[in-house]
């Protein structure tokens, strides 16, 4: 029963949505009914699937690139403590540039392919991932390091047998945080210059006041973030068996 609670909440919200339209007579271009949105899914499956696939690929690639770089940089910082003072300021500068300000430049540089959207997705994920993994590694217990020193472990062995497994919980939590951010990054890229993807679909449908399609695209957008989040959660439970 407890597991079904989220389903009941969603169904109640849909019912509330439906009744609000009926009672207050809200026009379709402002708030389409649940059935109108469902109708979009039935009549335009191909359009929605193509747009979903494009945005998913952009978000996923940006997410993977950002987290891979964050993990590598964080592990490098952990081994060469001085490098933190050079790397983090650069990361902070990147973070302070608003993504909407840099996205047009990325489009100018990389054209209208998926590359600039992947880049915006990666940029938006990079800093939170880096900070999360670095602060995780910095919380490393001193006695673990002493233990490895006692046994004269090489740098490679220390990274492999200590830093990587120790960082995994922090990497997974950064993956969870950035899973939704990557979708935002991909959408921002699509809003500013694209001819495909859910962001493009939302913008073009909004201009033509085709609100049911906007709603369908929004639902699909959130489903990307959700599916990434739960895929990461599943992987975490399989890999970090010692935590579960």
């Amino acid at each position: 029963m407890r597991k079904l609670l989220p389903v009941w909440i969603i169904l109640s919200l849909v019912l509330f949505w439906y009744l609000s339209i009926r009672i207050f007579n809200i026009p379709r271009y402002l708030l389409p009914s649940p059935s109108a949105v469902a109708h979009v899914f039935i009549t335009n499956p191909r359009l929605l699937l193509e747009s979903f696939t494009v945005t998913f690929i952009e978000a996923f690639l940006g997410f993977v690139i950002a987290n891979f770089l964050s993990a590598v940089i964080a592990l490098t910082i952990s081994l060469h403590k001085g490098s933190e003072y050079y790397v983090l300021p650069v990361a902070i500068v990147l973070k302070t540039i608003p993504i909407v300000a840099i996205a047009p430049l990325l489009i100018l540089w990389f054209g209208s392919s998926i590359a600039p959207k992947v880049a915006t997705a990666a940029l938006i994920c990079f800093f939170p991932s880096l900070v999360s993994i670095v602060s995780g590694i910095k919380s490393m217990r001193e006695d673990y390091l002493d233990l490895f020193k006692i046994y004269n472990a090489s740098n490679i062995a220390t990274v492999r047998h200590l830093f990587i497994p120790y960082s995994l919980p922090f990497i997974f939590s950064s993956l969870k945080i950035s899973s939704s951010l990557a979708v935002v990054g991909a959408l921002v890229g699509e809003f500013l210059g694209s001819n495909m993807g859910l962001g493009f679909l939302i913008i073009t449908s909004y201009y033509s006041l085709n609100t049911p399609i906007v709603f369908a695209a929004v639902i699909l957008t959130s489903s990307i973030g959700l599916s990434l989040f739960y895929a990461i959660h599943y992987l975490e439970s399989k890999i970090l068996t010692w935590k579960y």
Partner: protein, 245 residues
Amino acid sequence: MSNFIEIVSLQKSFDDRTVLDDLNLKIKEGKLMSIVGPYGSGKTTFLKILAGLTEGYKGSVTIAGLEPRKLREKGMVGYCFQKPNLLPWLDVEKNLLLPALLRKTAPTIDVNKLLKLAKLTSIKKSKINELSGGTRQMVSILRSLSLSPKVLLLDEPFSSIDEISREKLQEDLLAIHRKTVKTTILITHSISEAVFLSDEIAIFSQKPTSIKKLMPIKLDRARADVRNTEAFNKYVTIVRKQLSA
């Protein structure tokens, strides 16, 4: 019997703060020595110097004729930390094999034999999270023995363990020491633990620390109830007096 550990005029400072000053100590091979002293008297620093983890000291420290760092590099030091620091992502067996893995050598004691020392063979494949604090600490001690070190250094291994489990672990440690006959240095805040386990107790002074008193302990440890004997209580009283003086 020759001196296995020789410490002559050891001095260690951090910035302008002298922690250890003119510390002299000799320990015979195969003996178990406890170090007791006030909080912050540099006991852990002392142990880390012996382990080759802390350097930059003055004076001379030799263990089996070698400098601590050399001894550590040769994998001849076993160290058990204050908190059990088993790696939670490895099971008990893999934790015990970790020193051999890091040193790229085969373990000199097999895991089953090692676990048998503390009657823990049943937990070989257990996850670390499934173990009690006492068992984790005992596994940590066993891990420090896995490469058959020349010297075993124990930094308050039972400090966070309840009284009943602690007595059991002390008995297990004593049994392990009898079987392995490793030269062992134990840091403890428990006077009764020091008296129960040691061949000799070194009482540290306040900072800057030197040896206040060395006290050989001559107890019949074959007796299970040695803790209730008059001789035991006498030793406890003497050490307590020395510490509070």
